[in-house]
């Protein structure tokens, strides 16, 4: 019998697992995808929001500001990139200047530190690339940028290292409830547990139905992005928002922690959670972004992507114990700023669990994580790591300077990658301007060699995303 089954290993599931791993509990995470962080968590704006958007008094407002404040220490512990670059919300009209004032007041009520309303001149002095049309901005120095999938991966790794079980490729298909416990059913097995944390993202409503709860309202809202080359990476130095509208926080332009520039998202309600890009969505995104930063060079795009928001008509996250199904804790409706709030949501989830199960701290819990990122080492450090392991001297991804040593380290980590994209999310190989054109086949060779499976069976990502269809005629004869 497991104490807790966490359904879904996005940032929310991983944060909960990380928090609960500190206690003497039997915890299992079930994840439908071939990897962690493969849902909404890998496709969003990657902003740690300051917290002036949520309505004062909501749980969202509190969790946003709390989550934001936790990030420095958390990211340092987990050795993942995080930068407090600050954010500007731009106003283009008199009306929008009034919106800025509202946001300022909201932020102050929510406890957001150091908010400032800036004049057009002050804004331009800080961000020379923003449009001449700007009339002023709201500056929030505590806003930041992060790598959402690395955060998720790091939290999940520490959880697994401390005894949490993670099962990938394991979709939950049904849930039974009897005698005060649950049986969670997957195609491979049935798992009994006392409590369920439902962190299934846009599919949280389905899990609610399976468990006998009334499903929450879910509006799939797609947001499309451009990711620009590093040559555009310092076009702006902070996160440039426009005034929020009915559909969300609007199109932003921001540096990423990896040195690129992210542009997006639009907001389009769709019937099924389809993450395809559309020319309509991209055109809108591009046009809106140019309004903020006219000098943007969209032709330096290296990748488009899209993410799906778990929207609903309410102003708060839909989180807490189900009224109908005791023991089912829903972490649903986690729209933006879900990423920011994730560590705070996990603390809250642990409090709920503590009311049901006795929480005693593990004596042997080991926090933290350290990764070698070759390109960030000094010359002397580079020399040292290569002396210890020569494979740090073999560059596999030439755009991002990722070495074979780093890939092998990922393969020996608590949650080893099994796919090309899994390697990319862990070490950055294939994230650069050639988008894996050069390193893809080499990463595939390393995976094939290390996992002991044929090249043809290595997938790009989920099951069925095969890359090769067989051998050439010459090789067949051999």
């Amino acid at each position: 019998m497991q104490d807790i089954v966490i359904i879904g290993c996005g940032v929310i599931g991983a944060a909960c697992a990380y928090e609960l791993a500190k206690y003497n509990l039997a915890v299992t995470i079930l994840e439908a995808s071939s990897d962690v962080a493969n849902g909404t968590t890998k496709a969003n704006s990657a902003i740690i929001h300051a917290g002036y958007d949520p309505i004062p008094g909501t749980g969202m407002a509190k969790l946003n500001v709390e989550g934001n404040a936790m990030m420095d220490a958390l990211c340092r512990r987990l050795d993942i990139p995080f930068k407090r670059v600050g954010s500007h919300v731009l106003a283009f009209t008199e009306e929008e200047l009034i919106t800025l004032r509202t946001l300022y007041e909201r932020g102050t009520a929510n406890g957001v530190p150091e908010l400032r309303l800036l004049t057009a001149e002050e804004t331009k002095a800080m961000e020379p690339s923003v449009s001449e049309e700007v009339k002023g901005s709201l500056f929030a120095p505590t806003a930041g940028i992060i790598s959402p999938w690395e955060l998720t991966l790091a939290m999940a790794e520490v959880a697994v290292r401390n005894g949490v079980t993670l099962k990938l490729n394991t979709p939950v298909t049904a849930i039974e409830r009897r005698d005060g416990h649950f049986t969670v059913i997957t195609p491979k097995e049935r798992i009994d547990c006392r409590l369920i944390l439902n962190a299934a993202g846009i599919h949280a409503g389905e899990i609610m139905s399976m468990a006998g709860d009334t499903p929450c309202e879910t509006v799939f809202s797609r947001g499309e992005y451009y990711l620009l080359d590093k040559s555009e990476g310092d076009r702006v130095s902070s996160v440039i928002f426009q005034c929020p509208n009915r559909d969300g926080k609007g199109v932003l332009v921001a540096p990423t922690v990896h040195g690129n520039l992210i542009v997006g998202p639009n907001a389009e309600s769709i019937d099924s959670p389809d993450t395809a890009n559309t020319s309509r969505g991209l055109n809108f995104t591009r046009t809106q972004a140019m309004k903020s930063v006219p000098s943007l060079s969209i032709r330096d795009n290296i990748r488009n992507f899209a993410g799906i928001r778990a929207n609903h008509s309410g102003e708060d996250f839909l989180i807490g114990e189900s009224a109908k199904v005791p023991g089912l804790f829903n972490l649903a409706g986690i729209k933006s700023p879900g990423l920011t709030a994730s560590p705070a949501i996990a603390k809250l989830a642990a409090e709920w669990v503590g009311k049901r199960l006795s929480l005693t701290e593990k004596q042997d819990f080991t926090d933290g994580r350290k990764v070698i990122r070759f390109k960030h080492l000094t010359a002397a450090e580079k020399q040292t790591v290569i002396a210890e392991n020569p494979l740090y001297g073999r560059v596999i991804c030439r755009c991002e300077t990722v070495t074979e040593g780093e890939i092998l380290a990922a393969l020996r980590s608590p949650i080893p990658p099994t796919t090309i994209n899994g390697v990319k999310r862990r070490v950055g190989a294939g994230m650069g301007r050639c988008q894996g054109g050069f390193c893809g086949p080499r990463v595939q060779e390393i995976l094939s060699r290390e996992l002991g499976i044929p090249m043809e069976e290595i997938n790009l990502d989920e099951d069925g995303s095969y890359i090769l269809t067989g051998r050439t005629k010459g090789e067949q004869i051999k």
Partner: protein, 418 residues
């Protein structure tokens, strides 16, 4: 570590430059190559068609590269393979890394950039649709098929009619795949005419000019693409969609000179070529740093790469032996409206030999036409062509004596229908 001459990249450009510099008397030459072997992109080009100009016979890519690699054997040129150049400073210090020596800083008397080019990807043209497996750049597919011996798909659509896409259409057909179409955004192909005939027409593969891919379907693996006709502004025309059921999309949508190191060193790049601005002797804006091959301009024929590289090799030797060229009178070369770029960008008159080669590309196709070299209103020279296309690099010779007679310091190369 120190080297008199360090060459970054051991493709055909780097190899030919090394040999030329050696012939000109430089003994301490180091080639840095990140691959296991020298030869560059030629190693995966197992088709014929290399060396017609240079060796007067038709060779495959590896054979062509092999000839140069053989010539190196009798020289004192050292090759550091499996070695990646990570950084280059204006003082000509190259930071490199490999498994044997680790992290090194190489101080070079002169440097030749010969890093080649890379392929433009899906992102560069923002093709909408899913991000399924089965989307390859043509060169990456070529590597899988020709070097690794794996097939990348069964039913293939090729976007872009660049040479690599054309060559791969034929290659995949011969390997048993069905190539359903080659789709080209422009009203003309960017590939060599001989490749259109030998790789598409001979195999009955339709070429759709003025068309593009407007959607990609398939959640995990590509299941199909939508192809639409485009208007004069290259915008898709609604209602012209054709749907192809395919499992693979190959992209041959252009090459970009690989100039990360050049940028790090602060070398001035030409936005038209995306390569370094060079003088008549292939020297870049930083003295003692030279460049040749695809890192300077994307070549269609390797023979011209070798020629350009020899010039760079000889010039680097001269720099090491005699020092910098005198500045003196500086002439700039630019192209007219139908010319996409011209090379070299700058000519130091005093240092110029009796004649130099100018190379350029046209922006659109020309039939009977004239290439005109002009200085102000004065026409310096004109050359006849029966045909010119964007896919084929053009070259003309500029004799020094023509420049004696003009006073201005700006030469314009124009093309006109005859």
């Amino acid at each position: 570590m120190k080297a008199q001459l360090a060459i970054i990249g051991g493709g055909p450009a780097g190899l030919a430059a090394a040999i030329a510099a050696h012939e000109a008397g430089v003994r301490d030459i180091l080639i840095l190559e990140r691959d296991r072997e020298c030869g560059g992109i030629l190693n995966q080009c197992i088709h014929n068609g290399f060396g017609l100009h240079y060796f007067g016979e038709e060779l495959t890519g590896p054979e062509y590269a092999g000839r140069f690699i053989d010539m190196l054997k009798d020289t004192s040129v050292r090759v550091l393979s499996d070695t990646m150049a990570l950084d280059l400073t204006p003082e000509r210090v190259i930071h490199t890394v490999n498994t044997a020596e680790g992290y090194m800083q190489i101080e070079a008397g002169a440097v030749i950039l010969a890093m080649g080019c890379r392929e433009r990807t899906r992102g560069a043209i923002s093709i909408p649709g899913t991000r399924a497996a089965g989307i390859f750049t043509a060169g990456a597919a070529q590597r899988y098929v020709n070097i690794e011996g794996y097939m990348v798909g069964k039913r293939v659509v090729v976007l872009g009619s660049g040479d690599i896409g054309l060559i791969m259409s034929r290659r995949l057909t011969l390997e048993g795949a069905e190539v359903l179409a080659c789709v080209e955004l422009m009203p003309y192909s960017s590939g060599l005419t001989r490749n259109i005939v030998q790789c598409l027409e001979d195999f009955g593969i339709p070429l759709y000019l003025s068309h593009t891919v407007t959607d990609i379907r398939g959640k995990n693996r590509v299941e199909g693409v939508t192809v639409s006709r485009v208007d004069e502004n290259r915008r898709p025309i609604p209602g012209t969609e054709m749907i192809f059921d395919c499992d693979t999309l190959l992209l041959s949508v252009g090459l970009i000179p690989e100039n990360e190191l050049s940028k790090q060193a602060g070398i001035i790049l030409d936005p038209r070529t995306n390569g370094p601005e060079v003088y008549e002797n292939m020297e870049c804006s930083i003295p003692g740093i030279f460049a040749c091959g695809n890192v300077v301009q994307v070549h269609d024929l390797v023979d011209f790469v070798s020629e350009e590289a020899q010039l760079a090799g000889r010039s680097a030797a001269e720099f090491l032996q005699k020092g910098s060229k005198p500045a003196g009178r500086l002439i700039t070369l630019t192209g007219g409206s139908d010319v996409s770029y011209t090379l070299p960008q700058k000519i130091r008159f005093d240092a110029m030999p009796d004649r130099i080669k100018l190379s350029f590309r046209v922006r659109r196709s020309f039939g009977e036409s004239k290439i005109i070299l002009r200085a102000g209103d004065a026409i310096l020279a004109s050359f006849k062509r029966s045909h010119m296309a964007p896919g084929e690099m053009e070259r003309v010779t500029l004799p020094k004596k023509l420049l004696n007679e003009v006073s201005g310091n700006e030469i314009i190369l124009e093309v006109k229908e005859a």
